[in-house]
Symmetry: C2
Subunit: 196 residues, 2 copies
Protein backbone atom coordinates (compact mmCIF):
# COMPACT_ATOMS: atom_id res chain seq x y z
CA UNK A 1 0.00 0.00 0.00
CA UNK A 2 1.02 3.59 -0.50
CA UNK A 3 2.63 4.80 2.70
CA UNK A 4 0.10 7.23 3.94
CA UNK A 5 -1.59 6.97 7.30
CA UNK A 6 -4.17 9.56 6.31
CA UNK A 7 -5.07 7.44 3.28
CA UNK A 8 -5.21 4.21 5.28
CA UNK A 9 -7.40 5.89 7.89
CA UNK A 10 -9.70 7.24 5.18
CA UNK A 11 -10.11 3.79 3.61
CA UNK A 12 -10.90 2.28 7.02
CA UNK A 13 -13.34 5.09 7.86
CA UNK A 14 -15.22 4.77 4.57
CA UNK A 15 -16.13 1.23 5.58
CA UNK A 16 -18.60 2.60 8.13
CA UNK A 17 -20.87 3.32 5.15
CA UNK A 18 -23.43 0.54 4.61
CA UNK A 19 -22.55 -1.75 1.69
CA UNK A 20 -18.96 -0.52 1.40
CA UNK A 21 -16.23 -3.17 1.66
CA UNK A 22 -12.45 -2.88 1.41
CA UNK A 23 -12.34 -2.71 -2.39
CA UNK A 24 -15.07 -0.07 -2.68
CA UNK A 25 -13.54 1.96 0.14
CA UNK A 26 -10.18 1.92 -1.65
CA UNK A 27 -11.80 2.92 -4.93
CA UNK A 28 -13.70 5.75 -3.23
CA UNK A 29 -10.61 7.06 -1.44
CA UNK A 30 -8.45 6.97 -4.59
CA UNK A 31 -11.19 8.64 -6.61
CA UNK A 32 -11.67 11.47 -4.13
CA UNK A 33 -7.94 12.13 -3.70
CA UNK A 34 -7.18 11.90 -7.39
CA UNK A 35 -10.16 13.69 -8.88
CA UNK A 36 -12.25 15.48 -6.28
CA UNK A 37 -10.57 16.89 -3.18
CA UNK A 38 -13.10 19.69 -3.02
CA UNK A 39 -15.85 17.06 -2.94
CA UNK A 40 -14.03 15.29 -0.11
CA UNK A 41 -13.85 18.51 1.92
CA UNK A 42 -17.51 19.31 1.23
CA UNK A 43 -18.52 15.80 2.27
CA UNK A 44 -16.43 16.08 5.45
CA UNK A 45 -18.25 19.27 6.42
CA UNK A 46 -21.67 17.86 5.54
CA UNK A 47 -21.02 14.74 7.65
CA UNK A 48 -19.81 16.70 10.61
CA UNK A 49 -22.66 19.21 10.43
CA UNK A 50 -25.35 16.54 10.02
CA UNK A 51 -23.97 14.40 12.86
CA UNK A 52 -24.02 17.45 15.09
CA UNK A 53 -27.30 19.15 14.19
CA UNK A 54 -29.74 16.57 12.86
CA UNK A 55 -32.09 15.28 15.55
CA UNK A 56 -35.57 13.80 15.69
CA UNK A 57 -38.84 15.73 15.40
CA UNK A 58 -40.47 15.59 18.83
CA UNK A 59 -43.87 14.83 17.36
CA UNK A 60 -43.32 12.51 14.38
CA UNK A 61 -39.80 11.25 15.08
CA UNK A 62 -38.42 11.93 11.58
CA UNK A 63 -35.07 13.67 11.10
CA UNK A 64 -35.26 17.41 11.70
CA UNK A 65 -33.02 20.27 12.71
CA UNK A 66 -35.50 21.84 15.11
CA UNK A 67 -37.85 20.56 17.80
CA UNK A 68 -40.60 20.03 15.25
CA UNK A 69 -40.23 19.19 11.55
CA UNK A 70 -41.72 21.31 8.76
CA UNK A 71 -44.52 18.80 8.11
CA UNK A 72 -45.64 18.77 11.75
CA UNK A 73 -45.54 22.60 11.82
CA UNK A 74 -47.53 22.96 8.58
CA UNK A 75 -51.00 24.25 9.61
CA UNK A 76 -52.51 23.20 6.26
CA UNK A 77 -52.06 19.49 7.03
CA UNK A 78 -55.04 17.39 8.06
CA UNK A 79 -54.36 16.67 11.74
CA UNK A 80 -57.02 13.96 11.93
CA UNK A 81 -54.91 11.54 9.85
CA UNK A 82 -51.68 9.87 10.98
CA UNK A 83 -49.66 7.80 8.51
CA UNK A 84 -47.19 5.38 10.12
CA UNK A 85 -44.11 4.64 8.00
CA UNK A 86 -40.84 2.83 8.68
CA UNK A 87 -38.29 5.34 7.41
CA UNK A 88 -37.92 8.96 6.21
CA UNK A 89 -37.42 7.49 2.71
CA UNK A 90 -40.85 5.84 2.94
CA UNK A 91 -42.34 9.11 4.19
CA UNK A 92 -40.75 10.86 1.24
CA UNK A 93 -42.27 8.30 -1.15
CA UNK A 94 -45.78 8.85 0.27
CA UNK A 95 -45.22 12.61 0.21
CA UNK A 96 -44.18 12.61 -3.44
CA UNK A 97 -47.50 11.03 -4.48
CA UNK A 98 -49.23 14.28 -3.48
CA UNK A 99 -52.21 12.10 -2.50
CA UNK A 100 -51.85 12.50 1.27
CA UNK A 101 -52.32 15.66 3.29
CA UNK A 102 -52.28 14.28 6.82
CA UNK A 103 -49.41 13.93 9.28
CA UNK A 104 -46.85 11.17 9.82
CA UNK A 105 -45.21 9.07 12.45
CA UNK A 106 -41.83 7.69 11.39
CA UNK A 107 -40.81 4.54 13.27
CA UNK A 108 -37.16 4.80 12.15
CA UNK A 109 -37.12 1.03 11.85
CA UNK A 110 -39.36 -1.98 12.18
CA UNK A 111 -39.88 -4.72 14.72
CA UNK A 112 -37.17 -7.29 14.12
CA UNK A 113 -36.69 -9.65 17.08
CA UNK A 114 -33.81 -11.45 15.33
CA UNK A 115 -31.85 -8.20 15.16
CA UNK A 116 -32.88 -7.34 18.72
CA UNK A 117 -35.16 -4.49 17.62
CA UNK A 118 -38.17 -4.38 19.92
CA UNK A 119 -41.15 -2.03 20.48
CA UNK A 120 -38.98 0.39 22.45
CA UNK A 121 -36.46 0.85 19.63
CA UNK A 122 -39.12 2.00 17.18
CA UNK A 123 -40.88 4.23 19.72
CA UNK A 124 -44.21 2.42 19.87
CA UNK A 125 -45.08 4.00 23.22
CA UNK A 126 -44.58 7.43 21.68
CA UNK A 127 -46.66 6.44 18.67
CA UNK A 128 -49.53 5.24 20.90
CA UNK A 129 -49.45 8.49 22.91
CA UNK A 130 -49.46 10.44 19.66
CA UNK A 131 -52.30 8.42 18.11
CA UNK A 132 -54.43 8.77 21.24
CA UNK A 133 -53.82 12.50 21.79
CA UNK A 134 -57.40 13.32 20.78
CA UNK A 135 -56.77 14.96 17.39
CA UNK A 136 -56.06 11.80 15.41
CA UNK A 137 -59.09 9.97 14.03
CA UNK A 138 -57.48 7.66 11.46
CA UNK A 139 -54.17 5.79 11.66
CA UNK A 140 -52.92 4.59 8.28
CA UNK A 141 -50.45 1.72 8.65
CA UNK A 142 -48.00 2.22 5.80
CA UNK A 143 -45.19 -0.07 6.94
CA UNK A 144 -43.62 -2.18 4.21
CA UNK A 145 -45.28 -5.32 2.89
CA UNK A 146 -42.45 -7.50 4.10
CA UNK A 147 -42.69 -10.06 6.90
CA UNK A 148 -41.24 -7.58 9.41
CA UNK A 149 -43.30 -4.66 8.13
CA UNK A 150 -46.49 -6.73 8.36
CA UNK A 151 -45.61 -7.85 11.88
CA UNK A 152 -44.96 -4.25 12.89
CA UNK A 153 -48.32 -3.16 11.44
CA UNK A 154 -50.00 -6.03 13.28
CA UNK A 155 -48.51 -5.06 16.65
CA UNK A 156 -49.47 -1.40 16.17
CA UNK A 157 -52.97 -2.46 15.13
CA UNK A 158 -53.35 -4.63 18.23
CA UNK A 159 -52.16 -1.79 20.45
CA UNK A 160 -54.61 0.71 19.01
CA UNK A 161 -57.74 -1.33 18.34
CA UNK A 162 -60.95 -0.62 20.29
CA UNK A 163 -59.64 2.84 21.17
CA UNK A 164 -62.14 4.60 18.91
CA UNK A 165 -59.64 5.09 16.05
CA UNK A 166 -60.11 4.12 12.45
CA UNK A 167 -57.21 1.79 11.53
CA UNK A 168 -56.36 1.31 7.87
CA UNK A 169 -53.59 -0.38 5.91
CA UNK A 170 -52.31 0.61 2.45
CA UNK A 171 -54.12 -1.40 -0.22
CA UNK A 172 -52.29 -4.41 -1.58
CA UNK A 173 -52.64 -5.12 -5.27
CA UNK A 174 -51.09 -5.13 -8.72
CA UNK A 175 -48.58 -2.27 -9.18
CA UNK A 176 -49.62 0.41 -11.69
CA UNK A 177 -48.06 -0.22 -15.11
CA UNK A 178 -47.24 -3.87 -14.49
CA UNK A 179 -48.27 -6.92 -16.51
CA UNK A 180 -50.07 -9.72 -14.65
CA UNK A 181 -47.74 -12.30 -16.18
CA UNK A 182 -44.82 -10.85 -14.23
CA UNK A 183 -46.56 -10.09 -10.94
CA UNK A 184 -45.99 -12.58 -8.12
CA UNK A 185 -48.85 -14.88 -7.20
CA UNK A 186 -49.28 -13.60 -3.65
CA UNK A 187 -49.91 -10.11 -5.00
CA UNK A 188 -52.44 -11.36 -7.56
CA UNK A 189 -54.21 -13.38 -4.86
CA UNK A 190 -54.48 -10.27 -2.66
CA UNK A 191 -55.66 -8.19 -5.62
CA UNK A 192 -58.39 -10.76 -6.31
CA UNK A 193 -59.60 -10.83 -2.70
CA UNK A 194 -59.60 -7.03 -2.46
CA UNK A 195 -61.15 -6.50 -5.93
CA UNK A 196 -63.67 -3.69 -6.27
CA UNK B 1 -38.39 14.75 2.64
CA UNK B 2 -37.58 15.35 6.28
CA UNK B 3 -37.03 19.08 6.72
CA UNK B 4 -33.37 19.18 7.41
CA UNK B 5 -30.93 21.16 5.34
CA UNK B 6 -27.99 19.43 6.97
CA UNK B 7 -29.48 16.06 5.98
CA UNK B 8 -30.23 17.18 2.41
CA UNK B 9 -26.70 18.56 2.07
CA UNK B 10 -25.25 15.31 3.39
CA UNK B 11 -27.24 13.23 0.88
CA UNK B 12 -26.10 15.49 -1.97
CA UNK B 13 -22.48 15.41 -0.78
CA UNK B 14 -22.39 11.62 -0.52
CA UNK B 15 -23.08 11.48 -4.25
CA UNK B 16 -19.52 12.61 -4.95
CA UNK B 17 -18.48 9.05 -4.06
CA UNK B 18 -18.10 6.88 -7.16
CA UNK B 19 -21.00 4.47 -7.70
CA UNK B 20 -23.29 6.22 -5.22
CA UNK B 21 -26.63 7.42 -6.58
CA UNK B 22 -29.55 9.16 -4.83
CA UNK B 23 -30.93 6.00 -3.25
CA UNK B 24 -27.60 4.79 -1.88
CA UNK B 25 -26.73 8.27 -0.64
CA UNK B 26 -30.05 8.42 1.22
CA UNK B 27 -29.50 4.98 2.72
CA UNK B 28 -25.97 5.91 3.80
CA UNK B 29 -27.07 9.20 5.37
CA UNK B 30 -29.98 7.60 7.27
CA UNK B 31 -27.76 4.76 8.45
CA UNK B 32 -25.06 7.07 9.76
CA UNK B 33 -27.48 9.42 11.52
CA UNK B 34 -29.58 6.63 12.98
CA UNK B 35 -26.91 4.14 13.97
CA UNK B 36 -23.41 5.57 13.75
CA UNK B 37 -22.86 9.26 14.41
CA UNK B 38 -19.40 8.54 15.81
CA UNK B 39 -18.55 6.83 12.52
CA UNK B 40 -19.80 9.89 10.63
CA UNK B 41 -17.59 12.20 12.69
CA UNK B 42 -14.57 9.89 12.27
CA UNK B 43 -15.15 9.73 8.52
CA UNK B 44 -15.47 13.52 8.36
CA UNK B 45 -12.09 13.92 10.04
CA UNK B 46 -10.45 11.25 7.88
CA UNK B 47 -11.75 12.88 4.69
CA UNK B 48 -10.62 16.31 5.70
CA UNK B 49 -7.19 15.12 6.84
CA UNK B 50 -6.57 13.03 3.72
CA UNK B 51 -7.70 15.81 1.37
CA UNK B 52 -5.32 18.15 3.10
CA UNK B 53 -2.22 16.02 3.65
CA UNK B 54 -2.10 13.28 1.04
CA UNK B 55 0.04 14.22 -1.95
CA UNK B 56 2.05 12.41 -4.59
CA UNK B 57 5.49 10.86 -4.09
CA UNK B 58 7.91 12.98 -6.09
CA UNK B 59 9.67 9.95 -7.49
CA UNK B 60 7.00 7.30 -8.15
CA UNK B 61 3.85 9.43 -8.11
CA UNK B 62 1.86 7.20 -5.74
CA UNK B 63 -0.04 8.69 -2.80
CA UNK B 64 2.23 9.69 0.09
CA UNK B 65 2.27 12.10 2.99
CA UNK B 66 5.86 13.19 2.50
CA UNK B 67 8.02 14.16 -0.49
CA UNK B 68 9.00 10.53 -1.05
CA UNK B 69 6.96 7.40 -0.25
CA UNK B 70 8.22 4.60 2.01
CA UNK B 71 8.90 2.31 -0.94
CA UNK B 72 11.07 4.88 -2.75
CA UNK B 73 12.95 5.58 0.52
CA UNK B 74 13.56 1.89 1.27
CA UNK B 75 17.29 1.29 0.64
CA UNK B 76 16.77 -2.47 0.38
CA UNK B 77 14.79 -2.17 -2.86
CA UNK B 78 16.46 -3.05 -6.17
CA UNK B 79 16.84 0.33 -7.88
CA UNK B 80 17.64 -1.22 -11.25
CA UNK B 81 14.02 -2.36 -11.75
CA UNK B 82 11.03 -0.09 -12.33
CA UNK B 83 7.52 -1.56 -12.40
CA UNK B 84 4.91 0.67 -14.09
CA UNK B 85 1.37 0.21 -12.78
CA UNK B 86 -1.88 2.11 -13.30
CA UNK B 87 -3.05 2.66 -9.72
CA UNK B 88 -1.93 2.37 -6.08
CA UNK B 89 -4.30 -0.61 -5.84
CA UNK B 90 -2.37 -2.36 -8.63
CA UNK B 91 0.91 -1.50 -6.89
CA UNK B 92 -0.49 -2.99 -3.72
CA UNK B 93 -1.44 -6.19 -5.58
CA UNK B 94 2.10 -6.58 -6.98
CA UNK B 95 3.55 -5.79 -3.57
CA UNK B 96 1.42 -8.41 -1.82
CA UNK B 97 2.89 -11.17 -4.03
CA UNK B 98 6.24 -10.63 -2.32
CA UNK B 99 7.83 -11.58 -5.67
CA UNK B 100 9.09 -8.12 -6.58
CA UNK B 101 11.77 -6.11 -4.81
CA UNK B 102 12.28 -3.26 -7.30
CA UNK B 103 10.70 0.19 -7.40
CA UNK B 104 7.49 1.47 -8.94
CA UNK B 105 6.05 4.20 -11.07
CA UNK B 106 2.33 4.71 -10.55
CA UNK B 107 0.60 6.33 -13.53
CA UNK B 108 -2.54 7.19 -11.52
CA UNK B 109 -4.59 6.37 -14.58
CA UNK B 110 -4.26 5.07 -18.13
CA UNK B 111 -4.34 6.61 -21.58
CA UNK B 112 -7.98 7.01 -22.51
CA UNK B 113 -8.49 9.42 -25.42
CA UNK B 114 -12.28 9.05 -25.23
CA UNK B 115 -12.24 10.36 -21.65
CA UNK B 116 -9.76 13.06 -22.61
CA UNK B 117 -6.90 11.44 -20.67
CA UNK B 118 -3.65 11.96 -22.58
CA UNK B 119 0.08 11.35 -21.91
CA UNK B 120 0.30 14.47 -19.75
CA UNK B 121 -2.46 13.37 -17.37
CA UNK B 122 -0.66 10.14 -16.49
CA UNK B 123 2.76 11.81 -16.19
CA UNK B 124 4.51 10.04 -19.08
CA UNK B 125 7.19 12.76 -19.32
CA UNK B 126 7.98 12.21 -15.64
CA UNK B 127 8.05 8.44 -16.14
CA UNK B 128 10.48 8.78 -19.09
CA UNK B 129 12.79 11.05 -17.04
CA UNK B 130 12.64 8.56 -14.19
CA UNK B 131 13.29 5.52 -16.41
CA UNK B 132 16.24 7.25 -18.08
CA UNK B 133 17.85 8.60 -14.90
CA UNK B 134 20.74 6.13 -15.20
CA UNK B 135 19.87 3.77 -12.33
CA UNK B 136 17.02 1.92 -14.00
CA UNK B 137 17.97 -1.03 -16.21
CA UNK B 138 14.65 -2.81 -16.61
CA UNK B 139 11.17 -1.34 -17.00
CA UNK B 140 8.38 -3.82 -16.28
CA UNK B 141 5.11 -2.76 -17.90
CA UNK B 142 2.42 -3.94 -15.50
CA UNK B 143 -0.54 -1.95 -16.78
CA UNK B 144 -3.81 -3.86 -16.97
CA UNK B 145 -4.55 -6.29 -19.79
CA UNK B 146 -7.46 -4.20 -20.99
CA UNK B 147 -7.59 -2.31 -24.29
CA UNK B 148 -6.59 0.94 -22.57
CA UNK B 149 -3.93 -0.71 -20.40
CA UNK B 150 -2.40 -2.38 -23.46
CA UNK B 151 -2.42 0.90 -25.37
CA UNK B 152 -0.73 2.64 -22.44
CA UNK B 153 1.94 -0.08 -22.27
CA UNK B 154 2.45 0.25 -26.02
CA UNK B 155 2.95 4.02 -25.86
CA UNK B 156 5.39 3.70 -22.95
CA UNK B 157 7.24 0.94 -24.81
CA UNK B 158 7.52 3.11 -27.94
CA UNK B 159 8.81 6.03 -25.89
CA UNK B 160 11.51 3.99 -24.17
CA UNK B 161 12.67 1.59 -26.87
CA UNK B 162 16.25 1.81 -28.21
CA UNK B 163 17.30 3.75 -25.09
CA UNK B 164 19.36 0.87 -23.72
CA UNK B 165 16.66 -0.30 -21.31
CA UNK B 166 15.26 -3.79 -20.98
CA UNK B 167 11.49 -3.55 -21.51
CA UNK B 168 9.29 -6.37 -20.24
CA UNK B 169 5.55 -6.96 -19.88
CA UNK B 170 3.83 -9.16 -17.28
CA UNK B 171 3.30 -12.67 -18.69
CA UNK B 172 -0.15 -13.41 -20.05
CA UNK B 173 -1.52 -16.88 -19.45
CA UNK B 174 -3.93 -19.10 -17.61
CA UNK B 175 -4.63 -17.86 -14.04
CA UNK B 176 -3.36 -20.11 -11.27
CA UNK B 177 -6.07 -22.42 -9.96
CA UNK B 178 -8.33 -22.08 -12.99
CA UNK B 179 -9.74 -24.79 -15.24
CA UNK B 180 -9.09 -24.50 -18.97
CA UNK B 181 -12.74 -25.11 -19.74
CA UNK B 182 -13.68 -21.81 -18.10
CA UNK B 183 -10.78 -19.65 -19.30
CA UNK B 184 -11.52 -17.31 -22.21
CA UNK B 185 -10.11 -18.24 -25.61
CA UNK B 186 -7.89 -15.17 -25.97
CA UNK B 187 -6.10 -16.10 -22.76
CA UNK B 188 -5.60 -19.72 -23.86
CA UNK B 189 -4.29 -18.54 -27.24
CA UNK B 190 -1.76 -16.28 -25.50
CA UNK B 191 -0.78 -19.07 -23.10
CA UNK B 192 -0.16 -21.37 -26.08
CA UNK B 193 2.00 -18.83 -27.91
CA UNK B 194 4.01 -18.03 -24.75
CA UNK B 195 4.29 -21.69 -23.65
CA UNK B 196 7.58 -22.74 -22.11
Amino acid sequence: MPDSNALETLIQSLRCLPGVGVKSAQRMAFHLLQHNRTGAQTLAQALSRAAEYVRHCERCHTFAEHALCATCLDVRRDTSKLCVVETPADQSAVERTGAYKGLYFVLMGKLSPLDGIGPKDIGLKKLFDRALDGTVQEVILATNFTAEGEATAHVIGEGLKSRGLQLTRLARGVPVGSELEYVDLGTIAHALVDRR
